[in-house]
Structures are given as structure tokens and as C-alpha cells.
């Protein structure tokens, strides 16, 4: 006997076991009984799927209104958020511009002070 590519010798006992264990036929009419069982199963009424009861107000027209209202709420909410973000962006830009102007003014003042200081030192 070959087992996983390795030859293995079976003793008499194993050979007798192999010879004694032969597939036996099932009782007569096995296939007929099986086919009958299948036919009965296929003919049997399938269990009904009971739909989950819905409240009366949940009618198709109400569904449409509910969906429309939800979409409107989402859209208007989105517009509000967008407007707020736009406002914040504008405020940030204005603040940045003001900061640049102040820095420029400070730079001019600093230069003038330095000029005055040089004049005073020259007179002395």
C-alpha cells in the first residue's frame, strides 16, 4: 500500500480488515423513499413571511413627506454651516490684513525714531 508516497506494508490483520469492510447496498427502495421525501418537501407550503406591522401614519404619502422634510433639513443645515465657515474665513483674512498694516506702521515709526536719534547725536 502506498501512503503519502511512502510504501507501507499492511499485515494480515489490516488486509482482512480491508477485505471485510466493503460498502454494502442500502435497504431496497432507498432512492424511492428519498425521492418521495424530496417531492413532499417541495410540495409542502413554504412558511409565510409576515411583514412587520407599521403604524397607520407611516403610509406611502407620509413617507414621501418625511423623506422630503429630512432632505430639506439636511440641505438647509448644510447651507448654514457653509455660511458660518465663509464668515470665519473673511474675518480671518481681515485680521491678517490689519496685522500687516500695524507691522508696516511700526516699521516706519521705528525708522523715523532712528533718524531723529541720529540727528540728536550729530548736534551733540
Amino acid at each position: 500500500m502506498i501512503d503519502n508516497g511512502v510504501e507501507r506494508h499492511e499485515d494480515d490483520f489490516e488486509q482482512q480488515l480491508r477485505a471485510g469492510l466493503r460498502p454494502g447496498e442500502p435497504p431496497a427502495g432507498f432512492a424511492d423513499r428519498l425521492m418521495q421525501r424530496l417531492a413532499e418537501e417541495e410540495a409542502a407550503p413554504q412558511p409565510k413571511v409576515i411583514a412587520m406591522p407599521k403604524p397607520r401614519w407611516w403610509q406611502p404619502s407620509a413617507q414621501k413627506w418625511a423623506i422630503a422634510a429630512t432632505l430639506l433639513a439636511v440641505a438647509s443645515g448644510g447651507a448654514v454651516v457653509e455660511r458660518q465657515m465663509e464668515q470665519r474665513r473673511a474675518e480671518r483674512a481681515a485680521g491678517e490684513q490689519a496685522r500687516e498694516q500695524v507691522m508696516f506702521a511700526l516699521q516706519i515709526t521705528s525708522e523715523q525714531l532712528q533718524h531723529v536719534n541720529q540727528k540728536i547725536n550729530g548736534q551733540q
Binding site: 503519502n4 482482512q16 480488515l17 471485510g20 460498502p23 442500502p26 435497504p27 428519498l34 425521492m35 424530496l38
Partner: protein, 185 residues
């Protein structure tokens, strides 16, 4: 039921007419496997019918002739072992308990030698615990190697080999004990 194509291009037709042919072709294997494990012929027929019913329900999953054979063996063995465990009030026998049991089994030994080879082998296999019965049946009746038995029964190959070794040891011991009883009588 539909017709499905396997990876290698082989067809398995599970339409209503062909299903009967499949049953006729494999009923001996399925019934014999179930019979070896559950030991009771009536229960074995019940298991075998349930296996084919499940095949009919899940036929589209079968991909080829080889896959069909593998599927039938696997489902039959699992269903048969489950059936034995459900019906058995006591746990599976261990080796030592088994030896004690066969020593008290002398009454049946007188007729044992008069049985034919098939009946003697059947008697030996039936006396094994169900997992060993399954492994021995797959190995010596179906001629399946331990690797494939391991895949069929969802167990490591080493466990399959250990079950085989143990089963052979137990059956040899039982055969020699019964033979001694017979000679003493």
C-alpha cells in the same frame, strides 16, 4: 437545482432527473459509512437520507464529481458521529474500559469464529468508540489516506494516525481474546 461548473471544467448536473442518478451512484457509499458509525441500519438510512436531502438543498455549492464525493463523505461522517453522540447516554469508551468490556463478552465468542470474514470485521469495528469507527471505516473501506481523513473529520493528521493505531491495537486484542474464549469453550 442548477448545473454548476467546476474549476477543472467538469460538470455536475443536479437537476431533478439527474439527482436520482447521483443518489443511485453514491447511496452504497453514503449508507455504508453511516451504517459503520451509527451501527443501526434504520438509523443509518435516516442519516443517509438526511445527507442527500441536504445535498439537494445545497446542490449549487457542489463543484465537481470529486468535490461531490468529498462533500458526501464529510457530511455523512459528521452527521453519523453527531447522531451517535446525541443518542448515546454514556460518553465515548476509552481504551481501558474497552478491554474490560471485551473480557466480559465471552458469551458471544462461541459463534464468533463461525461468522464470515465480513461479519467478524463488522463486529470488531462496531465494538470501537465512534471516532475510531469513523477513522477505520474511512481508512480501510474507502481507502482514504490519513491526510484526507484529517480534512474530512476536522482533526489533526497526528490524531487520525493515533486513532488508527489505537483502533488496530484494540481490535487485535479483541480478536485474540475472543479466540482464546472460543478455544477454552
Amino acid at each position: 437545482m442548477s448545473v454548476s461548473l467546476c474549476r477543472g471544467g467538469e460538470f455536475v448536473d443536479l437537476s431533478a432527473g439527474s439527482f436520482r442518478e447521483i443518489v443511485m451512484q453514491h447511496q452504497a457509499m453514503v449508507f455504508s459509512l453511516a451504517r459503520r458509525v451509527v451501527t443501526d441500519p434504520g438509523l443509518a438510512e435516516e442519516v443517509a437520507q438526511d445527507v442527500f436531502m441536504e445535498l439537494h438543498r445545497r446542490g449549487t455549492e457542489v463543484e465537481s464529481g470529486d468535490h461531490l464525493k468529498y462533500w458526501l463523505r464529510r457530511v455523512t461522517m459528521h452527521r453519523a458521529i453527531d447522531q451517535v453522540r446525541r443518542r448515546s447516554a454514556r460518553p465515548e469508551l476509552q481504551g481501558d474500559e474497552f478491554v474490560e468490556e471485551i473480557h466480559t463478552d465471552g458469551a458471544a465468542s462461541a459463534s464468533w469464529q463461525q461468522l464470515g470474514l465480513a461479519s467478524r470485521v463488522e463486529s470488531l469495528v462496531e465494538s470501537l468508540p465512534e471516532t475510531q469507527r469513523a477513522v477505520v471505516t474511512l481508512r480501510y473501506q474507502e481507502d482514504i489516506d490519513p491526510d484526507e481523513i484529517a480534512a474530512l473529520l476536522n482533526m489533526p493528521v497526528a490524531t487520525v494516525k493515533s486513532h488508527l493505531q489505537r483502533a488496530l491495537q484494540l481490535m487485535r486484542r479483541k480478536a485474540s481474546v475472543v479466540l482464546k474464549e472460543y478455544r477454552r469453550d
